[in-house]
Symmetry: C3
Subunit: 341 residues, 3 copies
């Protein structure tokens, strides 16, 4: 949208915010952070850690839940400021579309592949035997869509992504650069000679609608059947999803988390960063696995766990607090012993 | 193979299993999981965690070590059911070969490179100056083989893999998408002005025969000499192998493990997921490093370690169990003090 | 350089070392490790862990800080042997330049992009709309430079790297294969219907001069403003840098470390491998975060922390030492109780 046209007053209206301040006729040029904002930017304030920056920001206006003390001459007061911030960002999203629209002449499409008419295939992208790309999908440069793979409608696949043979990607899926869907699961079995033989990974990966997968994340194909990432689930960068894992709907998995083979995450599970989850486990609906925890047992629905090995977060906090006192405790015991001795 | 021809009886014969049930003449269409199987699939049962699914599976037959109670009308009883499962998977492996066989016209081969006659080079793959690709090897789309690199016979290199200058890949090696072989090791040295200067990484990487490396894994080149991954070793996804690491033969390294510079893993070492191993260490033959452990000392041959920092697994279990009792213990001590006080 | 011309005596001169031994007229062919060296190699000795190898090395000469007992017939004694080792490596660096110099005919450059005259663009590299590549920069095969992105002078971008829209790369930056600059940050906000809506990531990434980024590392674009990696900072492989993180100058971040959103690393911070740093934190100048620590609070300038959650390294050592004694302590307490009982 032509952002020159948006006054602060109009923005307040679009966001459902009430405007505190006299700057309603000022033009808004974009959204920024409290620290980096110039005089035509609006900013978001929601975390007390940034209270200090309220006093020095040069922003035209601050989006906030209630009036705050700030150097900014205007405030946009709104019930859900984080959502309003999101909407403002959307209004001012820069145009990032590639200059290479449509099917680039260097794209390589196998004669048996089916590519819908309005698909974008970036330079040097490859669509292999019998693959199918549905309408409205944009695939960046140097992506490789394997044999028999299916990519749904209105997906956005960034450059340098691999979707391997037979994998199925839903609609409106976003895959960031470096994602690998459908590498072989890690399976080997010792034979009578003590050598390890590869277990063929015959299955595939199925990615639900509205999933987003971060840069460098890997989702392995199943031994048999499917590795599944449920609809609306979001995986951050450099996450590892092993074979036959089934992730439910609406889950959030932060960066560098690893999920071992055949584990099930029910719907709405949240994982912090660098979590490790063992194989063949069930993580109940709505559970929260805090950052860096190492989960070696099932987690009940709604459970919150932390630690290595992970236990109830409450319990883990107590153990950690107690451990902090341990050096002092041991000194005390030693002293007592000496006094008695 | 034309799987329509395989009856359950014939499959039993091929797997060396005895058939329990009347379905010997039924055709087998594939291998699946207990949960997802249809009436023409065979499944594997080996983990008691899935006992419940035995009662509801619709599978034609279950591969198992001894007769079990199951809704499946047939059982294939065999001494090593996991190996039989593997063999069944192989019999029913889907055809995943690319539709782009041979050297694709868009592949770019430097005039000084040597590519054997029966090699497959996928679309947009690049083979640089003086590189050599030996017979029977298949290289997927958009791979880059650097100057002076060597790739052995009958390798399978999936799309979007980088094998950098001078690295040497053995025979029958499998590299999954996103693998980077031969990035520079992480080496810098402060100079007298307090600036850090890059240490040239003059060495290479040598990958042994029958190695398999998972998606997104990185193996850095040596400062001098070689970073080595020994024959038959398997690295999972997103593993980091630093410069001058030497991994022995027949090792298994699970996902997201990191191995710091110059460390040696002797043969047959097993690492769980997200293990970290410090630099300049020696991990003895057959040692087991459990998931998420942080190894900061040498591990003797056959040693089993866990924890951060890692200690003997036995010892670590005891410390973890004792730590769990700590909050109660501290409450008890406080109470006693108060009683005395 | 033509290494056949370098005698050991000449090398000593170039390194500012004094030569101990009679081999000054011997030709030096390269640099190697103590273990792998042949009779024309020089090696470095600086870590007592390798003392044993001094006795068996076949090296022509050892670079060392003071005379050592060694099977090598010559020693190069120098004040800073690690720096001298570095300089020797530079003298003998192999020629790794691609055979594809200049702009390869298969490179795809958008008509609105600006590429300096002496740039190398490898086969199948792509430069999108309005992007700018400055002089002396070499970009490897199958890289993708997004719309409006800028790459400075004399950079070295290895094959299969993505620099996304609007990101800015400084001068003399090295990006290894698999790096992804400018993937979307991980941001979603629940709307009143309880669904999660994507927060547009309108910002970019700014990489300072002389930065080096290891294979497979991902740096996400900011929500608004910039994610920043300061000049001379070095990131190892498979590191995750989230949106709006600001890393100062001269930092070192080892492999598989993750830094959550909006966190600030001041200058000269060092992170060991597999460190996790929570969001919205400030890590003070010169702080050291030891390997595998999980940092959930600010760290003061010069602070050294370890553990999960991280505390002062000193304190953590004491807690860890105390925890080791815990099983014995509990046995003691139980025994005492039984004696009293």
């Amino acid at each position: 949208m032509d952002d020159a046209e948006i006054t602060l007053k109009r923005l307040a209206g679009l966001l459902g915010a009430s405007l505190l301040g006299e700057g309603g006729e000022q033009p808004v040029m974009g959204v920024s952070t409290l620290e980096e904002a110039g005089g035509r930017h609006v900013c978001y304030y929601g975390n007390p850690r940034y209270a200090r920056q309220l006093g020095s920001t040069r922003a035209l206006a601050v989006i906030t839940a209630s009036a705050v003390e700030t150097s900014s001459p205007n405030q946009l007061i709104v019930k859900n400021p984080y959502l309003a911030f999101r909407d403002a960002l959307e209004l001012f999203s820069p145009d990032r579309t590639s200059g290479f629209e449509g099917v680039h002449p260097t794209a390589v499409i196998h004669p048996t592949a089916v590519v819908a008419r309005d698909v974008t295939l970036g330079p040097n992208s490859v669509v292999d035997r019998n693959a199918r790309i549905e309408g409205g999908t944009r695939i960046g440069a140097s992506c490789v869509i394997g044999p028999n793979a299916v990519v749904g409608r209105n997906c956005l696949i960034h450059p340098l992504v691999a979707v391997s043979a037979e994998c199925v990607i839903g609609d409106r899926v976003v895959l960031h650069s470096g994602v690998v869907i459908g590498g072989d699961g890690f399976g080997f079995v010792p034979d009578p000679e003590g050598m390890h033989r590869k277990i063929p990974q015959n299955g595939n990966v199925v990615i639900g609608d509205d999933v987003e997968i971060g840069a460098g994340t890997t989702v392995d194909r199943a031994v048999a059947g499917s590795t599944v990432v449920g609809a609306r689930t979001k995986l951050d960068n450099l996450v590892q999803v092993a074979h036959n894992v089934r992730i439910g709907k609406g889950c959030f998995v932060a960066a560098q988390t690893g999920i071992a083979g055949s584990t099930v995450l029910e719907d709405m599970v949240t994982c912090g960063g660098q979590v490790g989850i063992g194989g063949h486990l069930r993580i109940g609906r709505g559970a929260i696995l805090t950052a860096k925890s190492g989960v070696s047992k099932d987690v009940p629905p709604g459970g919150v766990v932390s630690g290595i090995p992970a236990r109830s977060h409450m319990e883990n906090m107590k153990v950690m607090a107690a451990a902090s006192k341990l050096p002092g405790l041991l000194r005390g015991l030693t002293r007592k012993k000496e006094e008695r001795g």
